[in-house]
Symmetry: C2
Subunit: 343 residues, 2 copies
């Protein structure tokens, strides 16, 4: 069922039917209702492509999700992020286009998306230091929102939604220091990523403030897998002077730490303290009642929702000033932290 057929059926012109359905004023209430009823009855839904061609608006947004080529890994936070964003898209009747791209040629992917003209805007995932995509999109003139930030020159004005990574890790580190810990391991994400850089800065700054020298051999930076948590903990604990506490950049890394501990017969919160960053992944609810991990928590799902909102806003009105949303993480006290054991 298309417009032509529907209007023939109603003995009206395509113009009138189209306007009736799109809420234009120059249509009498009587015919508007008649049209609406017929459309519903015949299950008429306008063809998106044609609509897009005619209006120049696609009613779709793109997400390019990077595939870590080194480990052939897709970060599981995307599911929750996307679930959040989808809520908004569903509301606004937008489609979501997904492209999974090896992180080696993301730029080409964005360029392609832009020239294909199949989306009205994009969400930029996983920004790195001085991320070239920001300049690219800006020069192309495609609306975008960054999930995270990039330390590109200050004059770059772009919309972003980020968690206060620095503050979160600063607080977590300080919390451990206050408990008496001096040797604190950091299992960070890949430090090419902006978020990881900020987290490290937070960690650093808390140590500096307490006058503790940082031991570079206690800081690791890797793709945030379970195995990474496990292997690192095993390596740490094999040292003469193992750390008494660990800061893990994701719950998944934390799970690896836990596995190592149980293998080494170390009790978390007693022999070794652990703070994780908790993205609020739906399959890993870090229980509120028996709050298992001490954690800095910030919902990635909420971030997805907010990103989508900002993007919709920008598409609707490109001249509106770019908004920035900085979410603060809560510090949740669980059972994996405790006073530093006496050495």
């Amino acid at each position: 069922m298309n417009l032509k057929e529907l209007s023939a059926l109603l003995n009206l012109s395509q113009t009138t039917v189209s306007r009736a359905l799109n809420g234009y004023p120059e249509v009498s209430e009587a015919t508007r209702e008649r049209v609406g009823k017929a459309a519903r009855e015949h299950n008429y839904i306008p063809n998106t492509r044609a609509q897009g061609l005619a209006t120049g608006r696609t009613h779709a947004v793109g997400h390019v999700i990077p595939l870590s080529t080194k480990h052939e890994v897709v970060n599981p936070v995307f599911t929750d992020f996307i679930a959040g964003a989808s809520e908004i898209y569903a509301q606004e009747n937008y489609d979501m286009h997904l492209t999974v791209v090896p992180d080696t040629n993301e730029e080409a992917a964005y360029r392609k998306i832009a020239s294909k003209g199949s989306v009205d805007g994009v969400i930029v995932h996983g920004p790195v230091e001085n991320d070239p995509r920001i300049n690219l999109l800006q020069s192309i003139g495609m609306p975008f929102v960054v999930h995270g930030r990039s330390n590109t020159e200050v004059d770059q004005d772009y919309a972003w939604v980020d968690m206060n990574n620095k503050r979160a890790f600063e607080r977590a580190t300080k919390f451990l220091i206050d408990l008496g810990h001096r040797r604190i391991g950091l299992l960070n994400g890949l430090e090419s990523m902006d978020f990881a850089i900020r987290r490290r800065a937070g960690y650093q700054s808390a140590l500096d403030a307490a006058g503790i020298a940082t031991d570079p051999s206690l800081c690791r930076s890797e793709e945030m897998t379970e195995d990474y948590g496990y292997e690192s903990t095993m390596a740490f604990c094999a040292r003469d002077t193992p750390p008494t506490a660990i800061l893990a950049s994701s719950i998944i890394v934390g799970i690896g730490v836990r596995r190592a501990c149980s293998e080494l017969n170390l009790t978390l919160g007693k022999d070794l303290s652990l703070i994780i960053h908790d993205d609020g992944l739906s399959y890993f609810r870090n229980g509120a009642a028996a709050s298992q991990y001490t954690a800095t928590r910030s919902s990635v799902r909420q971030a997805g929702l907010t990103c989508a909102e900002l993007l919709m806003e920008q598409i609707a009105n490109p001249d509106v000033p770019k908004r920035h949303v900085l979410m603060e993480a809560e510090l949740i006290i669980g059972s994996t932290t405790g006073p530093a054991p006496r050495s």
Copy 2:
């Protein structure tokens, strides 16, 4: 840059340029090259929407991923599935449209997608018993591939890619029985799902073959979260006669089981045996060397890839007979299983 501009630039008609780019024979090699070069230089990429309108082919496929309304949860296996499928889509130059839909009105979502006409085919995720979507899509005439199966009447001929869930769980259960276990807990996924039904059937059949009566209180069925594994294990172990082995439907559930064990000071593989099903999630590589979990393994990423292949095939040639791919899971022996402790 669009066709019109490009052809004006080359002093050729749109027809010729279009044909040159699409590899039609009625164009001289010389002009074909000239056109190709110009297209590359000016970064010309045909507008997908216009192309779609003209051809009736959208060069896009849809994935509808169900959001469990009960727990507001999106299954993390989707990231890996989608990473696999994307490989094919990238190859074939297809777009992927994602819709996240509350599992309560999935049918409406499919109907809408179909009438919007924005995709050439869809992948059906998470089939349930007698899944209505299969009939729906068949009657609409939209090409589709099911990830999993549904026990709809036999005459329904549709393409699917599934893991041999029954066989996998039958083997796992038998493996435990052979180790002397008699009380085996089952932490299954939601038994409205087809895969969970088959897994249970496999479990059942192995017990029956060994002449062991099934204890319904040892069988649980829930959304496969970490918490579910934890809570269930705690509950199991609080019984007078706890199970000596557990079968968990995903690695995430298994992680919960492990957490409970470490809390209860039980050693996996000695005090309690555990077999998980391992989808090969990239963030949870179940290490080969120090294979941590005994597991039935089947790569969901590979499944995604195969689904995409079948779908491409079907879109290209709708009359080709529907293909079925049944993947066998490997049984990987890890360190979480051992002989049943003497009671």
